[in-house]
């Protein structure tokens, strides 16, 4: 993919570049893109345009009087199709960036931004049973340089570590080892039995069992 520069202040460019990168990344991981939503939108839209073109041609060749009835029918049909198209784009497609399947896991990702706010919001729907958050967000500068160049690595890491299905497909960027290490570090057995000098006399339990902030020790006074 060509590395092109965008204005880092243009929210539309930021979002569009990120959306494109998201699609490319998902496809590169082997997700089979499901284009049904887009295809229906395109089909309805183009059928409407064909009807309009046919009406134009008929009117051009045969004049108004001869084509009056067909035009009335065509206008009505067009309004119905256009209404459906608008409904589809606004309610069904709603910010959809990628929809695909891999190894039986179906994932659907929609993106959003708020005006004047440089944050990328994603809504993820999967059929995999998981405790993953349905909505995730990150500021654009996470994967854009100050000049406006897109950097793939931090973007992929954010996605792979935040979304289970993506992490499953991309182990390297998911950094599951680091995540598990942070959660419950494996400490060498010798240290665990001897409490260190903690200064103010209190005894604190440390050891392999403890979770959370066990990496820290209390301050020495």
């Amino acid at each position: 993919m060509a590395e092109s520069k965008i204005s880092p202040y243009n929210l539309a460019d930021l979002k569009n570049t990120t959306d494109d990168a998201l699609g490319n990344y998902m496809r590169s991981l082997g997700f089979q893109q499901d284009n049904k939503t887009t295809d229906i939108k395109l089909a309805v839209g183009y059928v409407g345009c064909i009807i309009a073109a046919a009406t134009f041609a008929a009117d051009y060749k045969l004049g108004w009087e001869a084509t009056k009835t067909w035009t009335a029918v065509a206008v009505f049909a067009y309004m119905v199709l256009n209404g459906f198209y608008s409904y589809w784009v606004y309610f069904v497609e709603k910010g959809l960036v990628f929809e695909g399947t891999k190894s039986g896991k179906h994932v659907s990702i929609a993106s959003k931004t708020n005006k004047h706010e440089p944050t990328y919001y994603l809504t993820i729907t999967t059929n995999a049973p998981s405790t993953d958050p349905r909505k995730i967000q990150a500021p654009f500068p996470t994967w854009f340089t100050a000049d406006g160049f897109f950097v793939a690595k931090p973007f992929q890491q954010w996605l792979a570590s935040s979304v289970g299905v993506i992490g499953d497909a991309d182990a390297k960027n998911a950094m599951r080892d680091q995540r598990d290490e942070l959660a419950s570090p494996k400490m060498p057995a010798a240290e665990a039995s001897v409490p260190e000098d903690i200064g103010n006399g209190t005894v604190e339990s440390t050891g392999v069992e403890s979770k959370g902030k066990s990496g820290k020790r209390s301050k020495r006074k």
């Binding site: 569009n16 939108k41 345009c49 309009a52 009406t55 108004w64």
Partner: protein
């Protein structure tokens, strides 16, 4: 500028082109819809000459209604000269027939010295309400029609406008 097009997936490109096609289609269908509602082949016309001054000036935009077949003397109508595609906006000064017989009209521009007999096709003395009249004027907006006059007198403007619109819509992704 075109770099963004090159990087697009085929479906995205199709969607962008569809956006532009829909702009054109919707504009055209709205126009045709207006035609259907008013029952007129050309529901909005621009005054091209000063023959109806001081009532209408060159550049005025006229809105037509064609569902009232019983046109009265004094109404302003738009008609096409038979076999010519020039719409003329003049006032009805005489009517013949009507009811069961086909309605025939004689028209004259307010600012003209003579009635329209000279303007009609050879051998034609009156207008046929059903066949020749496009509609009667129901309302108007002054000056707005000058854009159309410019577009018809400088046809390259039309192409330029269309190209500009196309680029704007296809390349815009907001």
């Amino acid at each position: 500028m075109f770099g963004s097009l090159a990087n697009m997936q085929p479906r995205q490109l199709a969607a962008q082109v569809l956006q532009f096609a829909l702009v054109l289609s919707t504009a055209f269908m709205l126009w045709k819809g207006l035609s259907v509602v008013t029952d007129s082949g050309s529901p909005i016309v621009v005054v091209l000459s000063g023959s109806m001054e001081p009532a209408f000036q060159r550049g005025d935009l006229l809105f037509l209604w064609n569902r009232r077949q019983e046109t009265q003397v004094g109404e302003v109508v738009v008609y096409n000269v038979r076999d010519k595609d020039i719409p003329i906006v003049h006032r009805v000064i005489r009517r013949f027939g009507g009811g069961s017989k086909p309605l025939q009209l004689l028209t004259k521009g307010d600012n003209n010295a003579a009635d329209d007999t000279e303007l009609y096709a050879r051998g034609q003395s009156f207008l046929d309400r059903k066949k020749d009249v496009v509609g009667s004027v129901a309302g108007y907006v002054p000056y707005v029609g000058y854009v159309t006059i410019l577009l018809s007198e400088y046809p390259w403007l039309k192409t330029a406008m269309l190209v500009f619109m196309a680029l704007t819509v296809v390349l815009q992704r907001e």
